[in-house]
């Protein structure tokens, strides 16, 4: 339901990151986002068919505050010359890494 979703978002430590270049690697994302704190994991968004990166990823922090800081200080800045956008995510669920490419 909507309220459950809202609750999950409120306590989430996961971010959705969009507008990445298809060539941007997990390593680069790791480097940039760990400037705000320790990362638990990164899940690269993959093209459903070709299983190649397709411009988005999920980032999970250990601490909520670190994720908030990534929204404040990294969202809207550049990685690989593209302005990346981040937003709260309710938490990664297997299968969601497959985008439309």
């Amino acid at each position: 339901t909507i309220s459950q979703q809202e609750k999950r978002l409120k306590n989430s430590t996961t971010l959705y990151v969009g507008n990445l270049s298809f060539f941007t690697t997990e390593e680069q994302i790791y480097e940039l986002f760990s400037k705000c704190g320790d990362l638990k994991r990164i899940i690269m968004g993959l093209d459903k068919v070709r299983k190649t990166p397709c411009g988005f990823c999920f980032i999970e922090y250990y601490a909520r505050e670190d994720a908030s800081n990534a929204l404040r200080f990294i969202s809207g800045t550049r990685l690989d010359d593209r302005i990346i956008r981040t937003d709260w995510d309710a938490g990664f669920i297997e299968g969601r890494q497959f985008g439309r490419g």
Partner: protein
Amino acid sequence: KRRRTTTDQNEIEERLESLITRVGEKSTSSLESNLEGLAVVLQADLPNYKLKIISILRECAVELPEKLSVYTTLVGLINVKNYGCGGDFVEDLWVHLRDLMKANEWDKARTLTRFLADLVNCRVVDVSSIVVLYEAFANVTLEEGIPQVRSDWFVYAILSSLPWVGAEISEKKDEELQKILNKIESYLRTRKKDHVAMLRVWHSDSPHPQEDFLDCLWAQTVKLRQDDWTHQSLLRPYMAFDSVLCEALQHTLPAFTVPPHSPDDSFYPLPRVVFRMFDYTDAPEGPTMPGHHSIERYLVEEQLSCIINAYIKDRKECAIQLVSFHGKAKVPLNYMIVEVVFGQVFNLPQAVKQEVAYTALLLELCKLQPGSLPQVLAQASELLYERLDTMNLNCIDRFVNWFSHHLSNFQFRWSWDEWADCVSMDLEMPKPKFVQEVLVKSMRLSYHQRIVESLTNPEPFTPLMPPKPVPVYKYNEEGAGSLPGTMIAHKLMETIKARATTSEVTAVLDDVPNPTQDPDSMEDESTFNPLKIDIFVQTLLFLGQKSFSHSFSALAKFHDVFKVLADSEESQIHVLKMVRELWCNHQQMICVLIDKMLRTQIVSCPAVVNWLFSGSMSGDFTKHYVWEILHATLRKMSKHVGKITAELQEAREKAQKKKKSMDSDDEDSEESDSDSDAESQIERLQEALETAQSEQKNLFLIIFQRFIMILTEHIVTNENRGVTFHTPWYDYCIQRLEQIFLMHYSQVLAYTGTLEDLVFTGDTDPNILKVFQQFRSLSS
């Protein structure tokens, strides 16, 4: 009906809060008319909401220092019409000031002191009251047996509010002021300054002196006094209401008693060194930059810092507020902003806010002032580069991080050629080291080819260029055939590729002979077999080379094998050695793999530290990633201790609450069971905390002992050869030692006694001991 009234009341209180907290924000009408209007509104609500209004105003006085004079003026306007309310408010502040001091909220107490001083200008508080307050503060310098940081704060609180009220006091109470200033002067004359060496950004006073914060503010105050306490950098909205305010009655406050020092519960702010990177010659156009000892310099810096502290979490708003600073016509604003921002970035022991927040702010400022700010930043970067030789290594690290991150937002465009000559010097010197680390960090945010191309003329930078981040799998290299273990390594690779289980992998490794043992002797399971580790670690991580995620799942899948192979510190160090051998071209990979191995307890913290100081790492000892790993290891340890401390506190509070509620209930307890549960939980946590703390202490002991060993060896070797030990390596190394004290200040502080007894003793070389003494001077 009753409920209805409460709702109305809440609504009104909320409206009051919003009206008061928002006054002074950008608006279509003038600040004066907004203040006048608000004063009228509050006047009407005072009979019913006095306490609420007073508490909101007190919040604003402490929490919104960037709007200080807006609120002092507002209080002035209220006091004119309602003397009783004005009196209640200032008495409330008097009590609150004491409470803040007792709660060690020294920064807030300093803000409030300044607020009280400005209330004199708004005819709310009479001059004698603030003089009495200052006298009480100044008398702290005469207290005996207190740490210097205590008297420092009280002197600072006087000096940092005096510019607001100096003119008034000197007009009406000049003799008293003279006495206070004399007391401060004699205090400053005998004050110890051992802390300065550790806290200054540059080790040299050329081109700009890096002064102790009190010495500098004192010099500025002396000059201000010569200028009859006149300055022009403050917003004074109350001036417009002079004709109204002059009719107000002022309040005389009772004597102020400073809370006494308590050795166990009082914690004071650390001393500081004032950061200076520009003077008027750096900004030749536009208004002149105030000199180092001009009070205007201090006042502008203070106000810009207040803006940054207030708005940093909203980088767009922060940038807008900074560039629209009210005094911008009188100073070269962009230069002052950049100096204040770098002052906060390079602040020691820690940056004031997170480093990445400043990177974001500077990007925003560039966006807002594209025609002017980027040039000032480029000039600042040039200048910082030129002064690298005497720059504190901590600050160089932060400079590297900011600069590479900043460049990544501007396609890595930079006039690299101007720095190309640094390769002609000893590559261990700060300049080539800096360029090398910037290139590495830039590559981590980008990729190898891109960085090479951004150099337009990469040729001269070859010796500093990071290698391509590819693995070196020794069983595939030329000559691997003659290595013991190559056959098994290749077999292991096939096995893992065929989705092997843990036991299948173990079976393959069982065939590996132990080179440290006689082949005929009985196989001893507990002896560590380095060859097994070579084969397993190299092969597994080579297969996981595609990404961090691949490597992490390889570690997770064969966690059990690691636990069996690396069951001692010696074997864990060997695992780490293999990680580094495989990924010698990819520092970031080494860092994240070790992070993961620590978290999954494949390796221990002491193993990581001992490995970093081992001979196999000596070639990388002056590379930043080594220290990145060391500090991350220490941070993990402190987080662990912090977590248990918090849990213990929570458990104690819970137990206390329960006890209280049972006492008050006065009923027969049926919950004695859960009572003892709680007790045993507290006991368990206490034990866990003691264990964690002793592990932490042990880790610091190892680090400091290793530092002393390598530094002493270096000093002795060079002295025996008859050459100076002050080499670039030594300067680097001693500053890394300093950095441990600074970056983990409060953790190390807890173990000062042990360190003094066991490590930094009379036998320690005086050059090394000096670092420890400087550390101690920070809090004494």
